[in-house]
Symmetry: D2
Subunit: 362 residues, 4 copies
């Protein structure tokens, strides 16, 4: 359980790191939307391993096959199934992990929950699972662009102690993709790259922050009480591997402000009331204000490190874990398309849900 | 939509600040659980207004009536409906807010979403809605204590720039309740009280952080992928009024650590593998490790302040808003039982979900 | 669990026969719909006991109080909570049933499932629970009339061996309400009344069939695969107390026809293709054709009869059950508003769901 | 939307008749269940075309590939994805149907709902979609056998006007599989075969009834109010292609009985109260009694017939439809494994849901 996300735009992912493949079924995508495997591939290519020397060297083309729900180039309203076969699976490379628990991985908790586990490269807990999310996110992206002109963008805003300066209202996809770190501040990007290189050489790893923005959001998306836009975004982001925190708008910085300084004043705008500032991050009471959604996601340093670590076997005996296998010394660059995907999925879901609200004439 | 939370332990809240009352229906509570209105009242009293001079002076007894689902002192397995009538409702006091948008409140967004709004004291967007959550949380608390000995506790760890020092593994309910701020660090509590008093006198308001812990959690709760324990907690917390951020374990501080420093090493324990540290905050891959769950929730300063503010009417004209009415200059003390309730609801849900996993012999 | 119905128009009922009351929370009703307690009362009055000598003499006004979600006469988009207090509750009258199992009632199965039961008048299993459905159905009726001109009507078409002849395309509410049996065929109605009177005098009870029609349904409601319109109707009807069967269109009679005779031929209509016949009952592949929905629901004879019956105690000992208390010798007349309510709820749900399908231009 | 079924044992199907393939994702299957592709194949082979001359001659091996969720022969608790590639797809054979509406097929309603349709062999509306259900049902069968010894069996009890005589308490899988009609009454089976042969020669088709039984059901499965066992079964069965009705126990025959004759008397049994008769069909108040579940499903005659039929084009012009392609003159024999699958899915779901009820000591 737990592999389904969304109400009206709903996806179910499946698959393990070193099984037959990874996939997703998207149910609820409206009919008549033009979509192709190429649309999916664009985002999948930003997520896939081996893009640069900053990321894991696992060699996966991650080619998406659309198995259903699309006919003559357009969605039919039926579930869209997408399959990505695992290519460079090397289960044998993980045989030595079979009987021990890697620190800060999910080996122990899967055993505790299920009483057995697929130990091949993390199995279901692998970040390869996010392939399904990114493919579904690409469909959501196409839908939101078509129906509402909504645009979603994320970028790396911090790696370890390297901060960046980015204008969330103006940054573009080109800016983000200009550097393999996906930090659109060129100076910071270079420093991040250096920090990642150093960590790799040291057999260590680094955490960081992905920032995100959603633009051209109509006011009125989201729902009160439990399904607030920020609540669904928080769930979406904390469901990503290695994420440890989420905040929206002023976020944790709001704590140190007073109400007078923090409140977003309304001022008359050309099309009705608007706010002079956007400390709210584009939501009030769980519902979009029409301003940009702005938020941050904190990621921990990669748990797999190329150093010796003491750990314990399933029989409770001490053992030394030698890191082999392929991994990212810093997940941040590849987390960017995942954060975008989750944002797109939340927005597509709420956009479709809003249709049932807008039924009687205003 | 959006007023339902949980899968196996599921609640639906309803009600507005100045309507007939506030209520909740809890479906999925197992039968034969001893429960009484007094059990609910204990937590409701910690949430209700007028507890101390730090909170709003609205005079509400918030007496809970259990309307169904309990027979001869025990739950029957049928839905438990709880009703709290509004007592000190004064809709007329809000008449002057009918045609304008209060800064950083949900007036504008409700209008944008629904094309009309109940302007009496925030209507559905009022924090009075959380009465239903706290009542349901009290039922969850009783259940979790009974079936698993799980204990959940929250406290105020920061107000504005006043920090506290609290040992999450040892702090008790008595410590928390010892001071009206609900900060269990006595020195910090006094400083917080002074800061809140100053803010009130200045017609201003303050934000802060609530920290929480859940103890005696069995390993194995939660689910992979979307319904991770930390994802559901994140959604739960970001669904609380005025919350702006959430993190778990090392949280945003993980960003500045390296993998070698951050990883929780496994060591042999008397009952099997355990970790030497708990930077994960009690979860790996979305599933509980058996360690304490530890997390933080950031709250913004109260949007209602006792100062003049410029704003805009629904007709897009500038107007000065004079703050009247009753409000909390700092929501933190009353947010504590809300954070506990949401934690309890997430845990009860996942505890019941786990029953369907533990079906075949290990 | 199991007290929630619907996805986009969703209700949760609660309450027991002799507890504090019965209620419902409706979430998802669009905002700005004019609705009043009088709208609900009209349908509740058709359902309530004591309407005629054909029904139970329990004296309940069944006055509905709307507690939330309606402001200044219109829905706000927030959950609508409705409360009906139990008036003529007489739990003591059921004390003698506390330790035995009434034949063909749910006493035994509730004990088997929950390990305890509220024995006061059937508790949660009482048909009083349907008050919440009928109240929610009245809201759905108002919505469907407003947005789509949809009209739903049910009637008693058979009681025991008394058949009726009714034209489903033409029958009106006035026809149905003209006789306390709710059979719009006057001759059959009289015969049914006589049969019910005879059964009552004999200390016996009768079953029957409620037929239903939904008119002015736009083509395109419903969904393929699991959420077919007929599947959701089937679930809705089999969830009613005492119902034993459901069929749509030709239903069980289709079995004795051949394909050539059964197929609904398409013919050119003024507004596009239409069918010459409607054996499908207004659905194909789970989706509405635009023709009238026509269906039947079979109800068993009331389990409570005014005769001595042998049964068994909870301690597995034989005992004679003497029927006391108030009951309907035939549930059919009061089942009519229940069947209408369930039909309305299914249609409102699918109507709102369709909004998310009709998003891209055709 | 609408391609997902179940709460705790949940499946999502996808795929079209002449697309890449058909599949299903099962989420919620408990871990550690032994399962193999052979387990699935057994039921798929009973469903697949070309088994006998009574069924369509489309040549499909329907080989199931398990893509995820199974490791070293046992389920892991992760979603189980199953893929069946379409082999004998001949989209070109349907080109002549592209612009017209086949009588009593879903061509028209899909166009009405979605504004376009996959016209290749019915697309999503094809009964090939049930491959996913049958595969998931096979997993449910294995689970229910393992945890509760539950056994589910269905058979053809009527074809057109050929009735059969079958003892639901004693009939076996061998009896059912002994004849290609899947009618375990040998005399009736022969007559059915003859009737189907005649219909085929006449270019006509026949309907019928599938009866089902579930044995060794523990008392207490199901839920009150909306998720009654019979309600979920009704939905399950009416979601099958070509089904028009469902009843349970005495079903539509209950109408003609009186309460005195219909009630199931309790008598003392060796293990506690039991009933002398089972007119209820194994349920009371939505909850299983412990008796066999017995029910019937009515199927209409196949809409595709090998005769000329008048119909209308999408441009509302009369045209003659010449039946080509491959089809079943009577769907009943192949409906049997579908009915079994849906029963198994409902029971597995409720069995897992019951685990969250049985939490506190009785």
């Amino acid at each position: 359980m737990g592999s389904t996300f969304g109400h009206s735009f709903r996806l179910t992912t499946w698959g393990e790191s070193h099984g037959a493949g990874i996939g997703v079924v998207v149910d609820g995508c409206p009919p008549r939307l033009p979509i192709s495997e190429a649309d999916l591939q664009h985002d999948l290519d930003r997520r896939r391993p081996g893009q640069s020397r900053l990321t894991t060297q696992r060699d996966e083309g991650d080619r998406a096959e659309i198995l259903s729900g699309v006919f003559e180039g357009r969605t039919t309203g039926a579930p869209i199934a997408v399959l990505v076969r695992n290519g460079d699976a090397r289960p044998a490379a993980y045989q030595h992990l079979k009987d021990l628990y890697r620190p800060s991985h999910a080996d122990f908790t899967y055993d505790a929950k299920y009483g057995l586990r697929d130990w091949r490269g993390g199995g279901r807990a692998s970040a390869r699972e996010t392939i399904g999310r990114v493919a579904a996110g690409a469909i959501a992206r196409r839908l939101l662009a078509e129906v509402a002109g909504i645009e979603v963008l994320a970028w790396v805003s911090q790696v370890h102690d390297v901060y960046s300066s980015v204008d969330a209202t103006a940054v573009t996809l080109e800016d983000v993709e200009a550097h393999p770190t996906r930090c659109p501040d060129p100076k910071a990007a270079k420093a991040m790259e250096a920090a990642i290189d150093t960590a790799r050489r040291d057999g260590d790893s680094l955490g960081g922050i992905v920032s995100g923005v959603a633009r051209c959001i109509p006011a009125g998306l989201g729902a009160p009480v439990f399904d607030r836009l920020e609540a669904d975004l928080a769930k979406a982001m904390l469901s990503l591997p290695a994420s440890k925190g989420f905040d929206i708008g002023s976020g944790f910085d709001a704590v140190n402000m007073t109400g007078r300084a923090h409140n977003d004043s309304f001022v008359p705008g050309p099309n009705g009331p608007q706010t002079a500032t956007n400390r709210s991050g584009g939501v009030q009471g769980g519902i979009s204000t029409g301003d940009d959604l702005t938020f941050r996601v904190a990621f921990k340093p990669t748990a797999t490190i190329a150093s010796l670590q003491d750990t314990v076997t399933i029989d409770n005996e001490v053992v030394t874990l030698e890191a082999k296998g392929r991994h990212d010394p810093c997940v941040l660059p590849r987390a960017v398309p995942m954060v975008e995907a989750m944002t797109l999925l939340v927005l597509a879901d709420h956009w479709l849900r809003q249709q049932a609200v807008d039924v009687l004439p205003r």
